[in-house]
């Protein structure tokens, strides 16, 4: 009787020219599969299948969509198209590539490149509190290359977080899951409601959406860097607006990472969007400039730290 809400396509199932291998992940709106194309190359296939609107019973291929769910189902499909449209126009080593898009089984599928790796979220989880500054600078500088490309196409990602930053085997980052991406920079049509993740979503996500801009993604970048150091997400922006209990990175990790990095994190996490870096380029410039190795100071006693502060400040 009990069962997973939606059953994945069976292993070995032939979907157009692709052979399904296994389910990679299951979300509320889609299932992602690992599959092979005719040449045997591994690809990831995302299937639009919102849990609440379409049901696929065990052993079935086509999901059942009831008459009164068809409207909302198609409406959600629009969002899935948005994601496809957004990604198809981007071709960048740090942004996931869409290889194909097709309709089958009464729903739609998006084929994307697949490489072995893990998400930054998994990485943080594994290295709780022991993520090095070099790693952070390396990953984020390159990830920002991808984000710049996104912004230059008048797109916002709007759901940036460690679990949407995928690390290939060589730790080069790839931006994935553009399910929330919207053409907000250009479009005159009413915007679809953006999705968000507490802790990583900017204050603009919650309030006046007309204020959404590159700086909103930049808030999420800051939150993701903060999460690298803290091991968990920072306080959610809507909570911060009520009562800000977020300890600034500069206070929390003083001496353990370079002042510059900590400043940048706090800069990105400004609640007022006007006080954040206004473009990815500005942020990147700050991140690569001044690559002093972090001062490894002896934790020592309070006097030692005090003196150390004096010594390092007049640069």
């Amino acid at each position: 009787m009990a069962q997973q809400a939606n059953h994945p396509l069976p292993s070995g199932h032939q979907l157009e020219e692709y052979t399904i291998d296994r389910q990679l992940s299951l979300g509320g709106f889609s299932i992602v599969y690992l599959a092979r194309d005719p040449e045997g190359t591994q690809v990831a296939i995302k299937e639009y299948l919102p849990n609440s609107l379409a049901l696929r019973a065990k052993g079935d291929i086509k999901p059942i969509i009831s008459e009164d769910h068809l409207g909302p189902f198609r409406y959600g499909m629009k969002c899935f198209f948005e994601e496809g449209r957004a990604l198809a126009r981007l071709s960048h080593p740090n942004v996931i590539r869409v290889l194909n898009f097709f309709r089958a089984n009464e729903t739609v599928y998006m084929v994307m490149e697949y490489e072995h790796g893990r998400t930054l979220q998994e990485f943080i989880h594994k290295h709780q509190g022991h993520v090095s500054e070099r790693f952070i600078r390396g990953v984020f500088t390159r990830m920002l290359n991808g984000l710049r490309e996104v912004h230059s196409h008048k797109l916002l990602h709007l759901d940036l977080k460690p679990s949407n930053i995928y690390l290939r085997g060589d730790n080069s980052p790839v931006l994935i899951d553009f399910g929330a991406a919207r053409q907000t920079l250009a479009s005159d049509q009413p915007m679809l409601k953006p999705m968000y993740t507490p802790g990583f979503a900017s204050p603009e996500h919650y309030g006046e959406r007309k204020n959404l801009g590159p700086w909103s993604d930049i808030y999420s970048v800051g939150a993701s860097m903060y999460a690298c150091l803290a091991g968990s997400a920072p306080q959610a922006a809507d909570e911060r607006l009520k009562k800000d209990t977020l300890t600034p990175a500069m206070v929390r990790w003083e001496g353990q990472f370079s002042d510059r990095l900590l400043e940048i994190i706090d800069w990105c996490l400004n609640l007022n969007h006007l006080y954040r870096p206004q473009s990815v380029f500005a942020l990147q410039k700050a991140l690569v400039a001044d690559v002093h190795p972090p001062h490894i100071r002896q934790p020592g006693n309070w006097l030692g730290r005090f003196v150390g502060k004096f010594r390092s400040s007049p640069r």
Partner: protein
């Protein structure tokens, strides 16, 4: 909604009680949860407490008085509880995360929805018989299903307490969902930890809960189970509801104004030109056009294909 509900959690023969239960209801929806903190991992009771609290507070926020989507509520609630436990682990620098099983059930519009991870169970009892129950996430159940061991062997099997899905473990929990299950007048839904079902098979429970006097029968059931558990018996917990509405009646489109405030008027009037279904209509042609557009963009911008 009309129902009778009972919950109880007992320590059994253990030193502490790592089970937690809760139920909450709004005008239109009822939530019931049983979580069994896992022994062998530290602070099982903390994980169980986080699980029931997370679900209860989400219910308080979202059931106003109706839940938009009970399955999504359960999925989100249990996933959030899982992450809350991991956050707690990180915050307190615990060497190992506390873990808990969880079974949760929503009843809304006389339809039951449930989800579980681990080996805490839900039984749906109709007319003295178990007509539905959850399947434990345990190796034993898999072995039983494949016919590799018998019921009798299962009861003594050394791995009978091992489960492969729970909230709080470093790997994501596997959560099973029920179907939408319409309820009839007199149905009993019972959620319990393994301390109860381990000593009282579902069929026995179905026989001893005669229904119309749940509030007397359920404590007796617990007494009996606790006695059977003996000196070293496990914690045992139960949340049980006796449902006193009928799905079929509720389905009729009759409107009851009995409970409406005297100064309130209900008006149903479509807003001018703002019919949301009109806006979201997407014809087959439009779908084809969108796919064509995306494919063209792929060919244009990713010429490697």
């Amino acid at each position: 909604m009309r129902f009778t509900i009972y919950q109880d959690s007992r320590q059994g023969g253990r030193n502490n009680n790592e089970d937690r239960t809760t139920y909450c209801y709004s005008r239109d929806a009822l939530l019931m949860v049983v979580a069994d903190g896992m022994g062998g991992h530290h602070h099982g009771e903390i994980a169980a407490q986080i699980a029931v609290q997370t679900l209860a507070s989400a219910f308080q926020h979202e059931a106003r008085p109706h839940l938009d989507d009970p399955f999504r509520f359960l999925q989100r609630g249990m996933t959030n509880a899982h992450h809350a436990i991991l956050d707690y682990t990180a915050r307190h620098r615990l060497p190992d995360s506390p873990r808990t099983t969880c079974v949760a059930c929503i009843i809304q519009d006389n339809v039951a929805y449930w989800a579980h991870a681990g080996d805490s169970r839900l039984f749906l009892i109709r007319a003295g018989r178990v007509i539905a129950q959850t399947k434990d996430h345990s190796r034993i159940r898999l072995l039983l299903e494949e016919g590799l061991i018998t019921e009798a062997q299962a009861e003594r099997h050394p791995d009978r307490n091992k489960i492969y899905s729970c909230l709080g473990s470093p790997s994501a929990p596997e959560i099973d969902f029920s179907r939408k299950t319409p309820l009839e007048h007199g149905d009993i839904i019972l959620l319990c930890s393994d301390g109860l079902w381990g000593v009282m098979p579902g069929e026995k429970i179905a026989l001893v809960l005669p229904g119309n006097n749940l509030l007397q029968a359920a404590p007796l059931l617990m007494n009996q189970a606790e006695a059977r558990g003996g000196l070293h018996g496990d914690n045992l917990s139960v949340v049980a509801v006796h449902w006193e509405d009928n799905y079929v009646e509720a389905l009729s489109s009759a409107i009851s104004t009995q409970t409406m405030p005297v100064d309130e008027v209900t008006t149903k009037l479509e807003e001018f030109g703002r019919n949301p279904s009109y806006k979201s209509d997407l014809s087959d042609d439009e779908i084809e056009a969108a796919i064509e557009e995306i494919r063209a963009a792929i060919d244009k911008f990713n010429p490697k294909k």
